[in-house]
Structures are given as structure tokens and as C-alpha cells.
């Protein structure tokens, strides 16, 4: 019987003793409108967040002011790509790159997501043939060696035209500022198979304080591998004995052994005197 009543009446009755006189037909309509609006917003907003734009090797990313174009040699997608200060900034860049160069060897990798990637060029055309950015230990690259735990970025590209290229893998903020926590390996115009000497800094490339690598010396191809060890630095907020536990244990062991040795020696001297 109740089900045939208008909804607001049914609600009134269900609330029983807690019946609130302010529930009116008008209030119900407003509430319903609000809920529906939220649902629409959620659907639209969610779809907006999941919007991806696909690209192919034919998709050009031009930098008109710099007379340069960037292509990817593989398919992929991104959630956002914008040209800022003649630099393409990609967000959530899904790359279907299947290999990355790591110390003289092409390693197979699975397609990966790059959160933020910045690339720029000037007076040249760049074709990115491999791109890989890892936010932590990546076993498919470095095995199960925990001391390799670091963020890394690796890119290989071909270039036509003697220009300038810049890349930024968006590693940690200290990557560009602290040379002691980074390892940068740049090889320009070289055969990438086997292990070769890298180009030294100021020999065709440089790195700025924001972590942007600028290559000036490539005429055909470039390979850049960056490793960021800042995550392995000691956490200064932890107590000394935690950050330097190995030192503390070592010194305790030595002290303990010395004390023990002194006790043993004194005992044996006492025994000798007794005899």
C-alpha cells in the first residue's frame, strides 16, 4: 500500500518518530537534482581524467619557433601534451618502447608509463627510438640487486641536422643539483653495442640544475642514461644509530672483543701467578 504513495509521503512515514517536517516535495526534488548532477559530473570528470590521446610514429610534435620536430618511433599515448617555452611536456606518457639501452646492451622491457617527460629540440628533427623511465628498482632492467635501487631514465634518439636537444625525465629535485647522487652516461654518434667510453661532460652535453640534459654534440644519434640515487641517501630525520647502524655495530664488536680479551688476559695472568 505504501508503495503506491508519492515518494515524499513514503519517506515521511518511514522516518517515524524521527520525522522531519522539513522534508517536502520541493526538498526532495532539489536533493535528487543535486545527486543526479553529481553523477553526471563524476561520469564526465572521470572520462575527462581517463582521456588519452594516442600517437603513432607519424605523429609530429613540432616546435615552430625552433624549427624542430619530434617524432616517436613507436606507438603510444598520453593524457596531456603541451608546448611550453618551446618544450613539449608530456603527462602520463604511455610508451610502447620494447627495449632500452643499459650499459652496452639492449634490454627488453615491457611498455611503461612515464609520468612526466620533457623534450625539446632546436634546428633539428628528432626521432625517439626508445624511452624508459623507472621510478624505483626495476627488476627487468637491473635484476634483483637491491643496491641498484634508484630512479633511472634512458632515451635513445636519432637526430637529423646539427641542432640542440634537451630532455628531462623528471627524476628527483636533487638530480640536477647534486652531482654525487647521479650517474649520467651520454654517448653521442657511437655504436651502442658493447661497452664504450661515454662522452664526458662538456663534450657535447651538459646538465642544468633542474635536471635538464642538453645535447649539443649529436649529429646522428644520441643515447642518454641517467640514474638518480637520491632515494638511497641517508634520511637525516632518522636517529644516528639507524643511519649508521653498520658503523655502530662494528665499533661495539671491537669494543666488546677488546674488553673480553682484557678479561681473558687478566684471568690467565692470575692463573699463572697462582701456579
Amino acid at each position: 500500500m505504501e508503495s503506491s504513495l508519492p515518494l515524499y509521503v513514503a519517506l515521511k512515514r518511514r522516518l517515524g518518530k524521527g520525522y522531519d517536517n522539513t522534508i517536502t516535495k520541493k526538498g526532495l526534488i532539489i536533493t535528487a537534482t543535486f545527486v543526479v548532477s553529481l553523477c553526471i559530473l563524476w561520469v564526465v570528470g572521470g572520462a575527462q581524467a581517463q582521456r588519452v590521446v594516442s600517437f603513432t610514429p607519424d605523429s609530429p610534435f613540432s616546435i615552430p619557433d625552433c624549427n624542430a620536430t619530434i617524432h616517436f618511433a613507436f606507438n603510444g599515448s598520453y593524457s596531456q601534451a603541451k608546448l611550453e617555452d618551446n618544450t613539449w611536456v608530456f603527462s602520463n606518457l604511455q610508451v610502447n618502447s620494447t627495449r632500452t639501452w643499459f650499459f652496452g646492451d639492449w634490454r627488453p622491457i615491457n611498455p611503461s608509463m612515464v609520468e612526466t617527460f620533457r623534450v625539446s629540440a632546436k634546428s633539428c628533427n628528432v626521432t625517439i627510438i626508445s624511452l624508459f623511465v623507472s621510478q624505483g628498482q626495476d627488476e627487468q632492467i637491473v635484476g634483483n640487486y637491491n643496491a641498484f635501487s634508484q630512479r633511472m631514465g634512458s632515451i635513445t634518439y636519432n637526430v637529423s641536422g646539427p641542432g640542440v636537444q634537451s630532455v628531462n625525465f623528471d627524476l628527483s629535485p636533487s638530480f640536477g643539483q647534486n652531482p654525487r647522487i647521479r650517474d649520467v652516461f651520454v654517448m653521442l654518434d657511437r655504436d651502442l653495442t658493447g661497452r664504450s667510453d661515454a662522452n664526458q661532460q662538456s663534450d657535447g652535453w651538459s646538465i642544468s640544475s633542474d635536471g635538464t640534459l642538453t645535447v649539443t654534440g649529436a649529429t646522428t644519434e644520441a643515447n642518454i642514461m641517467c640514474r638518480d640515487y637520491s632515494s638511497l641517501l641517508i634520511d637525516e630525520s632518522l636517529p644516528f644509530h639507524e643511519n649508521h647502524s653498520v658503523l655502530v655495530v662494528s665499533l661495539v664488536l671491537v669494543a666488546g672483543t677488546v674488553v673480553f680479551g682484557v678479561i681473558i688476559r687478566n684471568n690467565s695472568l692470575k692463573e699463572r701467578r697462582t701456579h
Binding site: 646492451d105 632492467i141 637491491n146 647522487i181 649520467v184 661497452r195 638511497l232 658503523l247 690467565s268
Partner: protein, 400 residues
């Protein structure tokens, strides 16, 4: 990980059973300790190079070159980035092999000098502590181990010692008698160990002078001149000078290649500069020294131990005052029981003479590797005793 734990547990069980079996089943009292020592030496190789048991094996990621020597540092798993190269103990456990737990302290001392004051990256590894801190840790570990067991490490645990003992057994198969150096030469060889370690540590300081003092003593040693803090100038070639001449490195590399843990093509390609002079793994220098030591060890027992700089450090921290007073592992001689038969002097592989010449009491000397061969062969009951913390662990028995 569970699988690895099971393997290690089985290994430990085998070692324990093996030790008990040897002690119970060896009837010849003059060989019992020698058999036990050989068994422990072989077991120690697996403890030091745990990767032989638990991998990594044929890591496909590194194909086709094979595993890198630093692909898995099990000692680093235990100590983290404070001392990622591994546990420091006084044995020639070269820092090269894959899957090792223990690392040679001489390498760690050299590597700690550069960089010295900061945490920084090294070769394919990140050090979260400064070189100075790592230097303190390594020396603390050396002092601790030396006070605890002295050159027992040399006699019972060092893999290169095992290599030389196996060469001695090969010689015995051909029924050839060993040679002895004269007492004067033996003394001079013993003294040369200290000169060797001093020279190489000094070289490390010279090559790392920019890191320590901020000034280059030799041009080209400025690590910041290169593209990062590690790969630059002369540092790339000789930042660990002793490791370029140490015979353990080519031995380890060779064994790793033989068992498939490292691909030879990787070894031959990973070279800085002229391969045969300043290669990264095997050089003409360290290979020549390995060959020379091999030949000499066939003729003279434990030849490398007589000039080993690591043995010098261990001996210094266990047999020199004031360490000698508090060292826990010692060889004692009972003057009253000794008849000066000379058996102890004859069987000593390093020609240590204090056991014969000293009247009585503590006869441990820096040349003695505490192999207990003298204790084993001395035919007079309790004339010689190997003691730990004042308690007799082993004593000579009347086996006549």
C-alpha cells in the same frame, strides 16, 4: 627467498654432518685436522661466494653477455647501502664475483678513499655513507676479526689459501717434495708484506688525494673533471691499485667464466684503456702474478701467504703489541713437554719458526696461519695447544 633459505639450511646441515663425520671417522690422527681444514676451506668458499649456491644463475636480462660481476651482492643485501660491497673479513674474497657475501678488505680500504668525505656513487653501486665512515667500518671489522681469530682466517677460510693447498696436493700426487726458502729469505718475505701493503695504500691515497685533500698529487686524478664523479681520468684506470696486481681477481674471474656465472665476452669487452695493461678484470699484470704464484706454490707451500698484504694486516692486528695481549686465538707451547724434535718446524707450510725457537708460552707469530698442522703432527701430548679465549680447542696427542 624461501627456496634460498632452504638451500642455505641444507648447506649448513651438510657442513655440520661433514665436520662430525670427519672428526669421528678419520682414524689417522696426524691427518684428521688436515682433512677437517680442507672440508672447512671448501665450505667457506660457498659461504663467501653464496651465489654459487643461490644464484644469480644465467640472468636473462643480461643476455647475451651473461651476468655482471655486480649483479647480485648478497653481502650488500645484508648491509644495505651503508656498505653495499659486503661484509669485510680478512680473506681474499675478491670484490668481483657475483653473489658474494664477503669482500676483501683491501679493496674496501682502497675504494673508501675515493670519494672520501661524501656519500656518492661508485662502480654500479651507491654508497650511502662517506668513504671515511666505510674506512672506519672496514678497519673495525679487520681488528675485530684479527683479535677474534687472528690468521685462522688465512689457514682455514681464505679461498686463495685453499687454491694453494690444492696445488700442494697436486704436487704430492706426483710425489715431489716441497722446497723451503732459507730462514733469512723467509724473514725478508715476511717483512715485504708490510712494505707491499704500505705502498699500495699510499698509492690509493695519492690517486685519491683530490677526494681527501682537495688537491691533485698526480695530474688527472681529479674525479670531477669527468662526466660524473666516478669515470674520469686516471681514476678510471688505477683507483684500486692493489686489485690490478692481486692474483685472486683473475682466479675469481676465470672460475666464474668456467662455471658459466660470467660470460667471457663480457669480461673481454669491459675494459678501460689498453686491455692488457689496465683492463677492468683481467690484466697482463695480475694474470702474470697468478701464474707466478701458482708455479711457486707448487714448489713452496703457501707461497702467497708469505707475502700476502692482507695477512700482514691480520697479523699486525693479532700478533703485534698491544693487540697480541688481547688476541683470543693463540698457539701455546708447553716448554716441559717439548723435546725439540723439530717436527713442527718441518711441517709448517709458511716456515714459521717461533713454534720451534720460542721456549714456551704464546708462540703465535705473524707468519703463522694457525693451520694447526704442527699441533696435529706433534707427537707429544699437550706439547702444543691451540687455544681460544684461554680454552684449549686442539692439542697435540701422542700418536706414536
Amino acid at each position: 627467498m624461501v627456496n634460498e633459505v632452504t638451500i642455505v639450511a641444507i648447506f649448513v646441515a651438510i657442513v655440520v654432518v661433514g665436520i662430525v663425520a670427519i672428526l669421528k671417522l678419520t682414524k689417522d690422527k696426524t691427518r684428521r685436522v688436515s682433512h677437517l681444514r680442507l672440508f672447512i676451506q671448501i665450505s667457506a668458499v660457498f659461504v663467501i661466494f653464496m651465489g654459487l649456491l643461490i644464484g644469480p644463475f644465467n640472468d636473462p636480462v643480461w643476455a647475451p653477455l651473461g651476468s655482471s660481476p655486480r649483479d647480485r651482492l648478497i653481502g650488500g643485501d645484508l648491509l644495505g647501502n651503508q656498505l653495499p660491497d659486503g661484509i669485510s673479513l680478512p680473506v681474499l674474497a675478491c670484490y668481483m664475483p657475483n653473489g658474494r657475501t664477503i669482500t676483501c678488505p683491501i679493496f674496501q680500504i682502497q675504494a673508501s678513499i675515493f670519494p672520501f668525505w661524501d656519500a656518492s656513487i661508485g662502480y654500479n653501486v651507491f654508497y650511502a655513507t662517506s668513504g671515511l665512515e666505510r674506512l672506519v667500518i672496514v678497519f673495525a671489522a679487520l681488528i675485530f676479526a684479527s683479535l677474534l681469530l687472528g690468521r685462522f682466517f688465512c689457514g682455514w677460510l681464505c679461498p686463495f689459501g685453499l687454491y694453494m693447498d690444492l696445488l700442494t696436493r697436486v704436487r704430492k700426487v706426483f710425489k715431489k717434495r716441497h722446497l723451503n726458502v732459507s730462514p733469512t729469505t723467509s724473514k725478508k718475505l715476511s717483512q715485504s708484506r708490510y712494505i707491499i701493503i704500505a705502498v699500495f695504500l699510499l698509492l690509493s691515497v695519492i690517486f685519491g688525494s683530490y677526494s681527501i685533500f682537495g688537491t691533485e698529487l698526480i695530474l688527472g686524478t681529479n674525479p670531477t673533471a669527468g662526466h660524473d664523479v666516478v669515470h674520469s681520468g686516471i681514476i678510471t684506470y688505477i683507483n684500486e691499485p692493489f686489485c690490478l696486481v692481486c692474483p685472486m681477481r683473475p682466479l675469481c674471474i676465470g672460475v666464474e667464466c668456467l662455471i658459466g656465472s660470467m660470460n667471457w665476452s663480457y669480461v673481454s669487452q669491459i675494459a678501460y684503456g689498453p686491455f692488457w695493461i689496465a683492463g677492468f678484470y683481467i690484466t697482463s699484470i695480475n694474470l702474470s702474478i697468478l701464474i707466478a704464484i701458482t708455479v711457486l706454490s707448487l714448489a713452496y707451500r703457501r707461497f702467497w701467504c708469505r707475502i700476502c698484504p692482507l695477512g700482514a694486516l691480520t697479523g699486525f692486528f693479532s700478533t703485534f703489541t698491544p693487540f697480541k695481549q688481547i688476541a683470543l686465538t693463540k698457539l701455546y707451547k708447553n716448554e716441559e713437554k717439548c723435546t725439540k724434535c723439530g717436527v713442527c718446524k718441518r711441517v709448517c707450510p709458511t716456515q714459521a719458526t717461533a713454534v720451534y725457537e720460542t721456549k714456551g708460552g704464546d708462540v703465535t707469530e705473524s707468519r703463522c696461519i694457525l693451520c694447526a698442522r704442527c699441533v696435529e703432527t706433534c707427537p707429544y701430548e699437550t706439547a702444543l695447544e691451540l687455544k681460544f679465549a684461554g680454552k684449549t680447542v686442539m692439542k697435540s696427542r701422542n700418536w706414536l
